[in-house]
Symmetry: C2
Subunit: 261 residues, 2 copies
């Protein structure tokens, strides 16, 4: 089924019922999607500060009150425990299992962090005439570890993870302009053109996601990626953390155009 | 003395030596200035979340690690205890005293919050040909309580405080455009034209600061104000809190143009 023009609330209902348990890429065009990270309260100040100090990879969409499961500002009555198609439960930094509902894992001291996802701006790129290769090829976006150090905060630190899209030379400036105004879903690229300058040895071998075709006359363009905060969290090995499964995002009721400052 | 074109580091040295203990309005044109709020760690997550949920009145410039007195990203080796001309010590929400150095009051569990100040964009307004009345009249900016409810977070809640500048009708759009790009120092206005619509009964009687002349053909334009977070903090009556004294700001080494997203 094609959910590209479906309303977010309708899709969230299908997710909540368990009828959609797959990736959300391409769903509900024009609406922002979010990465999820849930941590116990004792890590919450450090992680909130970490996101504030690294707004390009960790742009906050909404942060819950301690113990709250309700998404208020980004969605009409969103349920953080049921409204994502797939979750990952991590214990001491190790993936324990994947589930489609986290109600039974919920703790009163949990704080959720909803972080902007670059899926949000891909619709805008396509509408502006900028091709998005992994969508054309039916793949996941290629993502890479880099040598770009993040600003540490408390127990959290690490390097930036980036996503890559090959852009025809004559459309590189347009790809910057289109995404620059959308800072809450990663905004403008963090690097254009030289993978090795940011510590990427081979642009055909992504660390996460799939490799995509780079044609002659195309430039690899790199955006900060929402995998970054998850990586930082896993490095600190908290007793428990819950995240979305890659590509299985929370679809908000907020249009990307309304996320602009 | 005129410090309008002095380097921030030089002015901070004079402040640190105690040679400047007065207001910083008009100093170091082009460089961002910051409001200060210091709280014990137990309030830090709630307050950081409060600022994140209310970015117009509480735009964060820098937040310290727990116990850290050093301002790193916004200044070259800034000292939060000595580099503001005047501080206020609050106990249980009551002003206890004003001092020019808070070293002896410092606690290992303190967290500082540096919040953008609209002094920062006044230089840009003037340079763009938009008059700033309180500077012309040698007064403090007029500030008002409003009926605009803030998004609560943990123990913090309250209404927005705004600053007002009378702008000639033909320059109102320009005043929006000039400030809109500077979201980390309050950004675009939150209201134009009707004080009563935001709960202000008499625009000639500010709740803080000084009244200024509004000429025929001028429109009162309202910006979110950095007094807002201080008000919210005082309403919760923490055992201890330290803020800047009104108008006695931290002058950063960062140009306003570099604060744009």
């Amino acid at each position: 089924m094609d959910f590209s023009n479906e309303a977010p609330k309708k899709v969230r209902e299908l997710i909540r019922k368990g009828e959609i348990d797959y990736q959300t890429s391409g769903m509900c065009n024009g609406f922002a999607q979010g990465n999820l990270c849930i941590l116990p309260k004792k890590y919450a100040f450090d992680f909130l500060l970490f996101c504030n100090r690294n707004p390009k990879p960790c742009p906050l969409l909404e942060v819950g009150d301690v113990g709250s499961k309700v998404i208020k500002s980004m969605a009409d009555n969103g349920d953080i425990c049921k409204d994502l198609p797939k979750y990952r439960i991590w214990k001491n930094g190790v993936l324990e299992k994947e589930v489609t509902d986290i109600t039974e894992y919920w703790q009163d001291d949990f704080v959720y962090f909803l972080i902007g996802c670059s899926f949000s701006f891909e619709g805008e790129l396509i509408e502006s005439g900028v091709p998005v290769r992994h969508i054309e090829e039916g793949k996941n976006v290629p993502m890479f570890n880099t040598n770009i150090r993040l600003n540490p905060a408390g127990v959290f630190h690490g390097n930036m993870v980036v996503s890559m899209r090959p852009i025809p030379q004559e459309l590189v400036v347009k790809s910057v302009n289109v995404t620059a105004t959308m800072s809450r879903v990663h905004g403008a690229p963090i690097h254009i053109g030289s993978p090795e300058a940011i510590g990427i040895a081979d642009v055909s071998k992504p660390d996460y996601g799939d490799a995509v075709t780079i044609n002659d006359g195309e430039v690899p363009v790199f955006w900060a990626c929402g995998v970054t905060p998850q990586n930082a969290v896993m490095q600190t090995k908290p007793e428990i953390a819950i995240t979305h499964a890659p590509g299985h995002m929370f679809i908000t009721d907020v249009k990307n155009v309304n996320l602009k400052y």
